[in-house]
């Protein structure tokens, strides 16, 4: 019975997708906003990566919503996993290769993460991708030495500071007489590291917030053991 229902559901979903896809011309988007943004974005926001100018310029309040969803998810996971077993004694240390490799990889991953965050307005990548890499970099030493503890209070401080500064940059635009989170233009050379006005600042805030949130979530998950 359950299999039949599943088959019916999958068939209906496939039919619906086919019907929608049949009505669309492949490769000819019906929306005009894409080409309009592509034509205007580099001149308006100063970012060579058009995806960044959409994420932080044209749709910045969506990004703020995304950040708050991520915050709610991390906070609820922390609430569920809050009852922590201090079971560092039962966890064995990582082997020689993991410990040494973790030590070597940690600075490299930090460099790559910050590179991706700082170049978010120039090349593909940005705060979300770089933040995840930062979180992975902080999780690596934790795998090698399970007894080591991340400073959760420091992480929460970084996270709160980054989230507040994202909103502060938005309010700064409001104080300048523009719309909330509208990019403040400091007209610079297109393609320079210091260009695109406030967009790199926003992406730095996003990257720090995502990195701190995910690092603390991963360390909480790793430090709680099965309760049997």
């Amino acid at each position: 019975m359950g299999n039949l229902t599943g088959l019916l559901f999958a068939g209906g979903l496939g039919f619906m997708l086919l019907a929608i896809a049949g009505g669309l011309d492949f490769g000819a988007p019906p929306m005009l906003i894409g080409s309009a943004i592509q034509a205007q974005a580099p001149a308006e926001t100063g970012a060579t990566n058009i995806v960044t100018s959409v994420v932080l310029g044209y749709r910045a309040i969506d990004t703020l919503g995304e950040l708050s969803i991520l915050f709610a998810a991390a906070a609820s996971a922390g609430l569920v996993l809050g009852r922590r077993h201090t079971s560092a004694g039962t966890q064995t240390e990582g082997g020689f290769i993991l410990r040494t490799g973790g030590g070597i990889l940690f600075p490299l991953m930090m460099t790559i993460g910050f590179y991706i965050i700082f170049h978010g307005h120039l090349t593909p990548g940005g705060g979300f991708q770089g933040g995840v890499i930062l979180a992975a970099a902080f999780f690596l030493p934790l795998l090698a030495r399970p007894g080591a503890k991340l400073h959760h209070s420091t992480l929460s401080l970084i996270e709160g500071f980054a989230g507040a500064s994202f909103i502060l940059v938005g309010l700064l635009a409001l104080a300048e007489g523009k719309a909330f989170l509208q990019p403040l233009l400091i007209q610079d050379t297109l393609g320079q590291l210091f260009s695109a006005g406030t967009l790199p600042l926003l992406y730095l805030a996003v990257g720090l917030k995502v990195g701190a949130e995910l690092a603390s979530l991963l360390s909480r998950l790793a430090q709680t053991e099965a309760s049997q």
Binding site: N49, V51, T90, Q91, T92, E93, G94, G95, F96, I97, L98, I116, P124, G125, G126, F128, Q129, V132, I133, A135, A136, F139, L143, P146, L214, L217, L218, L221, A222, T224, E225, A226, Q228
Partner: protein
């Protein structure tokens, strides 16, 4: 899209489909998590083929790395971390597992 890219995309789609079926069929939980991350890896490569490097980076970082890591840690918390039928509780990536078991 050139012919070579089309063939690469078809191969990737085949790999992703077989990995997705494997997630459903395989008995071992860890193997299922690994197969699910193979689906994400194929998707990330498809995004690269379709000239969407931003999305590809996000998929590679979140889909391949982070989500499978979270799933694996959740498996360990639930006590479902099994290697060869034995439940292994401590650190998943530790290399001296044999020493402790033997």
């Amino acid at each position: 899209m050139t012919t070579i890219e089309l063939w690469i995309a078809l191969t990737l789609a085949l790999m992703m489909l077989s990995a997705a079926v494997m997630v459903l069929l395989v008995k071992n939980h860890i193997a299922a998590v690994a197969a699910a991350s193979v689906v994400s890896l194929g998707l990330a490569l498809l995004f690269v083929l379709m000239r969407a490097p931003d999305v590809a980076m996000t998929e590679a970082a979140v889909g391949v790395g982070l989500s499978s890591l979270i799933l694996a840690l959740a498996l360990r918390r639930l006590g479902l971390w099994e290697v060869d039928g034995k439940t292994v509780k401590p650190n998943p990536l530790s290399l001296n597992r044999e020493k402790r078991d033997g």
